[in-house]
């Protein structure tokens, strides 16, 4: 692959035009993406983890905007300028490559990619403590003061979610309310098949796998409602497996959980003791 001497006649002008068009479009588009689109990117800032995801999504969108633009501007420009007119078939310049361009391209993409991976890892492990994703039974990204967090077990089963609160006597509820101002430690597991606990506004997604205690840390910042869906195909009524949960003040949570304990006390004795996971009788065919 030798860089043949190029016929220099018009080359520099084309390149300069492409760069100028790209630079202008980028200067317009990137601020728009960050300032106008950014605040609307999912999943909102109800929790610290969701906020980290909004930041990640904003950075990603802002990063790919100039890349999309340079490719589109380049393709658009060359397709218009170098289009062959007329029916005669002529050959273009016999250029087989250009080593400096290739080296620069490889170096540049490598730097971007490695920086992106480093930043992503830093966010995941250090600043966002798992970023709301399931970390399995032995989490490595531990937030400060995680020992004091409120444990909530999320149990998926075909086709509903239930919740157990070990620090409130293992009471099981069919609705989820969480207090603000305290770290939450969700333990996601399943009774039958693989589900995925997706609390959209909380920024939480963790697979509910039978036999596995999948731990997520989340720190609610604002009160409000959040939607819960199943994000892993789990059979017939997968599409109906949704609920609405609430982040409430600490006092409201205390009265809610007390009411739940009272209401569920009759059913408590039928429940198995609280555990990281439960194995029901294997049910081999259920439609």
């Amino acid at each position: 692959m030798t860089a043949l001497p190029e016929p220099v006649a018009r080359v520099p002008r084309h390149l300069r035009r492409i760069v100028v068009i790209w630079a202008v479009l980028t200067a317009i588009a990137v601020p728009l993406v960050v300032l106008v689109l950014g605040p609307h990117l999912p999943p909102g800032r109800m929790t610290a983890e969701a906020g980290a995801q909004v930041d990640a999504n904003t950075v990603m969108t802002a990063l790919i905007t100039p890349i999309v633009l340079i490719i589109l501007v380049y393709f658009g420009y060359t397709l218009v300028v170098f289009r062959a007119r007329g029916s005669a078939i002529e050959d273009g310049a016999p250029v087989f490559g250009h080593a400096p361009t290739q080296t620069m391209w490889v170096a540049f993409t490598s730097i971007v990619v490695i920086a992106l991976a480093a930043w992503g890892s830093y966010t995941l492990i250090v600043s966002a403590h798992g970023a709301g994703g399931g970390q399995g039974p032995n989490p490595i990204a531990l937030p400060n003061g995680y020992q004091k967090s409120l444990q909530v077990q999320v149990i998926g089963q075909q086709w509903n979610w239930t919740y157990r609160f070990p620090s409130y006597g293992g009471v099981e509820t069919d609705q989820l309310e969480l207090p603000t101002g305290v770290g939450i430690e969700l333990h996601v597991t399943s009774l039958d098949v693989t589900h995925s606990f997706w609390a959209y506004e909380l920024g939480v997604k963790a697979d509910a796998v039978p036999g596995v205690d999948n731990i997520v840390f989340v720190h609610p910042r604002k009160t409000g409602s959040f939607s819960i869906r199943c994000a892993e195909l789990c059979g017939l009524w997968h599409g109906h497996m949704f609920q609405t949960g609430y982040v409430v003040s600490r006092d409201a949570f205390k009265s809610w959980i007390a009411a739940q304990q009272k209401a569920e006390s009759k059913n408590q004795r039928y429940l198995p003791p609280y555990s990281g996971h439960y194995f029901p009788e294997p049910l081999r065919r259920a439609g």
Binding site: M60, D91, T109, L124, T194, G203, D207, G239
Partner: protein
């Protein structure tokens, strides 16, 4: 206008085509084999509590499928040769003499016949998969189940996904790999013609087995077949497992065959740096197939044992793990997406130089890109499992490897950009599809960055964002490359010119409606819509209705292609020139239609295929000892 060339006739007498070793016998023996196997399975299972406690006998179903496969292959005549050899009779490799349409319905060892068989066979199942997509979009016109009951909707999703993945895995290697690789490297045939025929004939069988799931109301798992839902599902699941198993065998064998062909059967002078870039794409894909597809087979076999022999590889309460299936499946599944993407890279880089009238810019970089993608694709599979709770400490590693893949993928874009620079670009239908490939793959690839970054992936995992992402890479990439290849090479393969005006209408409708269909789905995913649901939040109805209408129009654009095929192949039959695109590719230097043995003598390769505009460039090959080609 040129005069039409005559249609090939049905060979032999009126009934001659139906009697003997051919497709019709294969179907009859296959159906018979199924019922025999199911009966034997019933006898075996009688008295086994764990089997008769369920409402289907999975042993019977699996044995039925196994016997059906044996009947199908026997009906096609796959056992004639080994049986003759065992009996000590002379068994020579038959020379392909038949010329009629009948040869496409029976076992043929000619790579050109197999290429055409693949084109229409896989195309037919692709069409069925597309119809499933239309039915899915019909349901999604409304936020609640209205068109189909929930179970039927899930079956449609599973059949669409599985059919598409099964068929598009060999969407380019099947028709174009088989047909063109020997022509491009100067060989008379593939390395293993019998294996080549087997890879094809397993494919329609797998499609039929998969569709038989309808008889048991389908299967609920989607194309991924996650355990333990797989263990719990009814007998339609058996069809999924067996069909995918057949495909894994087919993919492994096609990879072995193409690797051996490319390594061993290149003509003298066809050095590695003169190899057409499409052949490099086929080579790297074949490596993936050989290494990844057997893992799928293993995963499915364990599932088959779980369902029929009461093992519990994937059942947690029996000591197994759902993670085992997820690991095995995605160890195949991620290389699989590059099995889908890499042939597309090869196609578009093969086509761009021809219509830019320039050498492929950065040939070695393109080769490095493809091999780099192939290599890295084995180290990324757990990015499908970022929130599964498995190996959470390894997530930074998989994040890094996943993002590293964008470096070699970027090479392909640089090749295209360099090739277009100062070219003499002509917008023929193949070129339009090849350029659209880059537009779609740009969006598909860059949306993948969101999924590779764990904090972003927590938002988008399992949502419609993923769905839009992989449709942009597979449909926007592979299927567009498939049509580029079709419009480019089908004249050589069939000897018939395709209508250019219809081709351009097909392109513009497909390109516009493809983007209108899938781009809004990124937003649907961002707005809390999980995959594979038949219900969604009411505020998403506007997006979904818009997408459904676009999807119907996208389906309609496929009808334009079919109309073009019928019009050109059946009615007009305008003969194709030997080299209508003025390409330097070796495959264009042989006559149209291609002679039975491709080349009269072994060609001697004199130059690379992309030396457009090089003053004094030698012709690409000497086709006869005395002569020199154009």
């Amino acid at each position: 206008m040129d005069t039409a060339i005559p249609r090939p006739s049905l060979a032999g007498s009126r009934f001659g085509g139906f009697i003997g070793f051919n497709l019709f016998t294969a179907i009859a023996l296959g159906v018979g084999g199924f019922f025999l196997g199911a009966y034997i399975g019933g006898q075996i299972a009688a008295g086994k509590d764990y089997l008769i406690a369920t409402d289907q006998n999975d042993v019977g179903v699996f044995l039925g499928f196994l016997f059906a496969t044996i009947g199908w292959l026997g009906g096609l005549g796959f056992f004639n040769y080994p049986v003759k050899r065992m009996l000590g009779r002379p068994a020579t490799v038959p020379v392909e003499q038949a010329t009629g349409i009948g040869r496409y319905f029976r076992l043929s060892l000619d790579h050109k016949v197999i290429g055409i068989q693949y084109f229409f066979g896989v195309g037919a199942f692709f069409f069925i998969g597309g119809l499933n997509a239309m039915l899915i979009r019909t349901e999604l016109l409304t936020p609640n189940e209205r068109a189909w009951p929930a179970g039927q909707y899930l079956s449609l999703v599973g059949l669409h996904g599985t059919m598409m993945i099964m068929m598009t895995s060999a969407f380019i290697l099947g028709p174009f790999g088989n047909y063109l690789v020997p022509l491009m490297i100067g060989a008379r045939r593939m390395a293993f013609p019998r294996i080549e025929a087997l890879t094809f004939w397993l494919t329609p069988l797998a499609g039929l087995v998969l569709m038989s799931a309808i008889a048991w109301n389908g299967f609920p798992t989607g194309w991924t077949g996650y355990a333990p839902l797989m263990d719990q599902a009814r007998a339609g699941m058996d069809a999924y497992l067996f069909a995918f198993l057949l495909i894994s065998i087919s993919l492994t064998l096609i990879g072995v065959n193409l690797l051996a062909t490319i390594i061993a059967l290149r003509a003298p002078g066809m050095t590695w740096t003169r190899l057409p870039i499409f052949v490099w794409g086929v080579l790297s894909t074949s490596v993936l197939m050989v290494l990844a597809a057997p893992v799928l087979g293993a995963a499915l076999l364990l599932g088959i044992l779980d369902r029929s022999a009461n093992t519990s590889f994937y059942i947690a309460s029996g000591g197994g793990s759902a993670y085992l299936y997820e690991n095995l499946f995605w160890f195949f599944g991620h290389p699989e997406v590059y099995i889908l993407a890499l042939p597309g890279f090869g196609i578009v880089l093969e086509i761009l130089p021809v219509f830019a009238r320039k050498p492929l810019w950065g040939y070695r970089l393109a080769v490095a890109g493809m091999l780099g993608v192939a290599f890295l694709s084995f180290f990324v599979w757990q990015h499908h499992l970022f929130v599964s709770g498995m190996n959470a400490g390894l997530r930074p590693f998989y994040m890094l490897t996943t993002e590293l893949i964008s470096i070699p993928t970027g090479f392909i874009f640089l090749n295209a950009m360099g090739t277009l620079w100062q070219g003499r670009i002509r917008f023929t239908p193949p070129m339009l599809f090849a350029l659209a490939f880059f537009f779609n793959f740009l969006i598909g690839g860059l949306s993948g960055i969101f999924l590779s970054d764990v904090p972003s992936d927590v938002t988008t995992h399992g949502s419609y964002f993923v769905m839009a992402h992989f449709h942009y890479t597979i449909m926007g990439g592979l299927v567009f490359a498939f049509f580029a290849a079709t419009y480019y090479w089908l004249p050589k393969m069939t000897g018939v010119t395709l209508d250019e005006r219809l081709a351009k209408i097909h392109f513009w409708t497909m390109f516009v409606f493809f983007n209108l269909t899938f781009f809004p789905l990124f937003a649907a995913g961002f707005l809390d819509m999980p995959r594979r649901v038949s219900t969604y939040a009411p505020h998403l109805q506007t997006i979904n209705d818009f997408v459904s209408v676009s999807a119907f129009c996208l389906g309609g654009s496929m009808l334009i292609f079919i109309a073009n095929l019928v019009l050109s192949l059946v009615y007009r039959r305008i003969p194709a020139e030997r080299n209508p695109w003025h390409s330097r590719g070796l495959e264009w230097q042989v006559p149209t239609p291609v002679p039975v043995h491709n080349f009269e003598t072994v060609p001697e390769i004199l130059a690379g295929p992309y030396e457009y505009g090089v003053a004094g460039a030698p012709p690409v090959a000497r086709l006869r000892p005395t002569e020199v080609s154009a």
